[in-house]
Structures are given as structure tokens and as C-alpha cells.
Symmetry: C2
Subunit: 234 residues, 2 copies
């Protein structure tokens, strides 16, 4: 019997925002794999730590946090190979993913390499999108709103068009694109409808109107929520 690869969403940061299913799997799985920046800690591993009570074999998958346009993905070939050996030997493997595995996660690169040959089960997680709305105490979308998720690295024209067309917009991967995003929102007269959230549900959580943020850079894991109707959902 070969093992199963579990793609585990560990949620946005608060270790209590992990599912019972993820918790159960993490407590027993003999091998875990996690993404990490080139140097330093893995956020996914840190979030999962309170739930890992055995001593599993650990596989680090290190990539730059803000990858260049053409990153070297051979690191995923190597990791998939190592994971494959454990699965062949009948050992289950849990791949930890910040937020949700299939919501803009790097897990898809592992999935694409492992799923054609082995059993893969996805355990969905709370994404930063829902965590940010909860932190802001403001609905993400309601009724028949069009909700668009817009990655901030897109060019100014694409950002402008996408933001114009939806009632509700979540701008993700803000990082070094904060200045550009602010310009776009200013031009569209939407700055006063925009809220900034960094590190949602973590100790470092910060929440504020975009108009009060003066920097041109933000943490990579920050996002901006824009709702055109303001509080009309009441």
C-alpha cells in the first residue's frame, strides 16, 4: 500500500483557525513537508507547530518569498521526488500550506508533480481573504456582488480595469506593490473605501483604513479590501 499526500491548509495564522481534520492528520502523520523562504522560518510550519506532537520526518521546500517572473522550480522536482519515496514506502505525507492549499498557494507545484502518480487528498483551510474580512468586521461580499481577487503584481492598467468592474475587491500579495495599488485606488476615487490588513489573526495583526498607511511597501502577506458600497450591506 502506497501512502497518501495530504495538502493541508493550516489557515491564516491563529493556530486555532485550523480544521479538526487538519489537526487530526497532523497529529499522526509520519512525514511533513513545508514551504519556507530561502532563509528563516516557515510560516506554515510555525502555524502548525502546536498541532504536531509526534516527531515526524521533515522536508523543507525553500523558495524566494516574492519569486521572480521565471523562478527555478527544480526545488519542487526534488521535493516531489523525496515525497514520492515516502509514499512508495507506505508513509503518508502532509504538505503544510498557509491559508488554503488551492487559493494561490505554491502547493499546486507539488500537486502537479505528485498527483499523477499517487493519491492526494486536499484539506481546505481558512484563507487570508476570509480572515481579513473577519478582522475588519466587514462582509467580504453579499447578495449578488461581483467579488474579484486581484494579485497586486499585475500591471497598473489590468489592476485598474479589474477594480473598476467589481463591487467588492480583494487585492492580495500587496508587498512591494503598495505604492502602485494606492495610485490606482486614488485615480478611481476608491481610497476611502479601502481597508488594509496585514498578518490577519496573528499577534502582529494590523488593520487600518488605507488612507492612514503612508509606506510604499507592505508585508507580502497583506491585503487590501475595497467595497464600493461601503456599509450598504446593512
Amino acid at each position: 500500500m502506497t501512502g497518501t499526500l495530504f495538502g493541508i491548509g493550516v489557515g491564516p495564522g491563529d493556530p486555532e483557525l485550523i480544521t479538526l481534520k487538519a489537526h487530526r492528520i497532523l497529529q499522526t502523520v509520519p512525514v511533513i513537508a513545508w514551504p519556507a523562504p530561502l532563509e528563516g522560518e516557515s510560516m506554515a510550519r510555525t502555524i502548525a507547530s502546536p498541532h504536531i506532537t509526534q516527531t515526524p520526518i521533515e522536508i523543507a521546500i525553500r523558495m524566494p518569498l516574492e519569486p521572480t517572473q521565471f523562478p527555478d522550480r527544480s526545488v519542487y522536482d526534488i521535493a516531489a521526488d523525496e515525497i514520492g519515496k515516502h509514499l512508495e514506502a507506505g508513509r503518508d505525507v502532509a504538505a503544510l500550506c498557509e491559508g488554503d492549499p488551492f487559493f494561490y498557494g505554491s502547493f499546486m507545484y507539488l500537486f502537479g508533480r505528485v498527483a499523477p502518480e499517487y493519491n492526494v487528498v486536499i484539506v481546505p483551510g481558512i484563507s487570508s481573504l476570509m480572515a481579513a474580512a473577519a478582522a475588519l468586521k466587514s462582509p467580504l461580499a453579499s447578495r449578488n456582488d461581483l467579488l474579484t481577487v486581484v494579485p497586486a503584481p499585475l500591471d497598473e492598467e489590468t489592476l485598474t480595469e479589474a477594480i473598476q468592474r467589481a463591487e467588492s475587491v480583494a487585492i492580495i500579495k500587496v508587498g512591494r506593490h503598495l505604492g502602485k495599488v494606492r495610485r490606482v485606488l486614488d485615480t478611481l476615487s476608491l481610497t476611502n473605501n479601502a481597508q488594509f490588513v496585514a498578518h490577519a489573526t496573528m499577534e502582529l495583526q494590523s488593520v487600518s483604513p488605507l488612507s492612514e498607511i503612508n509606506e510604499d511597501r507592505a508585508p507580502y502577506f497583506s491585503l487590501i479590501l475595497v467595497h464600493k458600497r461601503g456599509e450598504a450591506w446593512r
Copy 2:
């Protein structure tokens, strides 16, 4: 000391896809409120059942599942009033929400009425969006995809425009709009990129290519995921 209203995301259906935080609160809260159709069971209450081990006071909030354009929202006034009395008396209240409380949920109507006067805490949940992607074993969005969530009740022209502009589209609230949605996707030559998911993570879960679905009606809680690049995320 007045009580706190917790808006609890109970997740998409599988009771194990609830967070540890929601689980902890549900086990101790003295009052729970839940939405339900005019007749019959509450999906949120059913999902939460295994986690409610005490005998709380229960408040049913009954509304038609597919509301008309101008529904009578006085039911939320009455529920908010009843919840307010418990909060005044120092009793915490958990309002159960299918999926995530702030992702197109009816919880916002309660929130709008209770939050101005009382402490409200949102516990995010796994939305049907992430559950559907997990069930399909297909990433929702990746890299710099524009992801748009499109409620199926919108008119054909709005649907067409919204679907045209995004790489990745989730069409929610399909219900009796399935025929219209199929027409729009056919016209855009996207039927072969569309997957249909009903009752994700539940026993009744059904997953299939849209091209194999012949009905013109689907469950209200079903959705269609469209990815223009197919499997290019590999």
C-alpha cells in the same frame, strides 16, 4: 458584563471541516442561533450538531432559501432583538453560518443589527469555494490569476462580461439559474473548462464536468468553477 455574539463559520458540510476555535465556542455557548428555510432542517445546525454537546437555548431564523428581490427582513429584526436580550443578560450567543460568515452569508443582516450595540467576534469558516476546489482536486487560482466570484442570479449580460474578464471564475448560487449559466458558458466556448460541484464535502457530494450535466436546475448550494487555462498551472 454583556455577552458576545460569535458569528461562527461552520464550514461547507463535513463536520470535521470546522475550526478548533468554532468547536471550542460551540461546546460551551449557552445560546445558539441558526438560519433555516421556511420549513425543514437548518443546514448550519446539522453541520454543527456533532460539536454541540450541551443543551443550549436555540433561536431559529427562518427565511426562504432563494429570497425574492425584496424579501421581508423583519425576521432579522426579531432575531436581533431576541439575541440582544441574551447579550444584555450576560449570555454569549453563537450564530451558526454555513461556510464563512462574511462570504455571501445571511449573517451580515444579523451583524448589521447587533454590532452597533454589542461586541461581535467573527470566526471565519471554510467556504464552499475552497471546498469545491478541494473536491475537484484543481487549484482555484494561481500565480497572478484574476479570480472572480459571480452570483448566478445576475443577468446574462453581466454574467458574460464578468466571466470574460477573469482567468478563474467561481459561479455561486447556481440553483434555478443553471440553464442560463450553461448558455453563457456555451456562448463563450468555456463549457469544456467548467466543472460542476454540488454539496461539496457532504455525503451527497457530486462532482462532474458541466458538459455531463443536462438538468436546468441544480441545488442552491452548488457551484461551477471555470479555469481558462485548464491545467496550465502545472
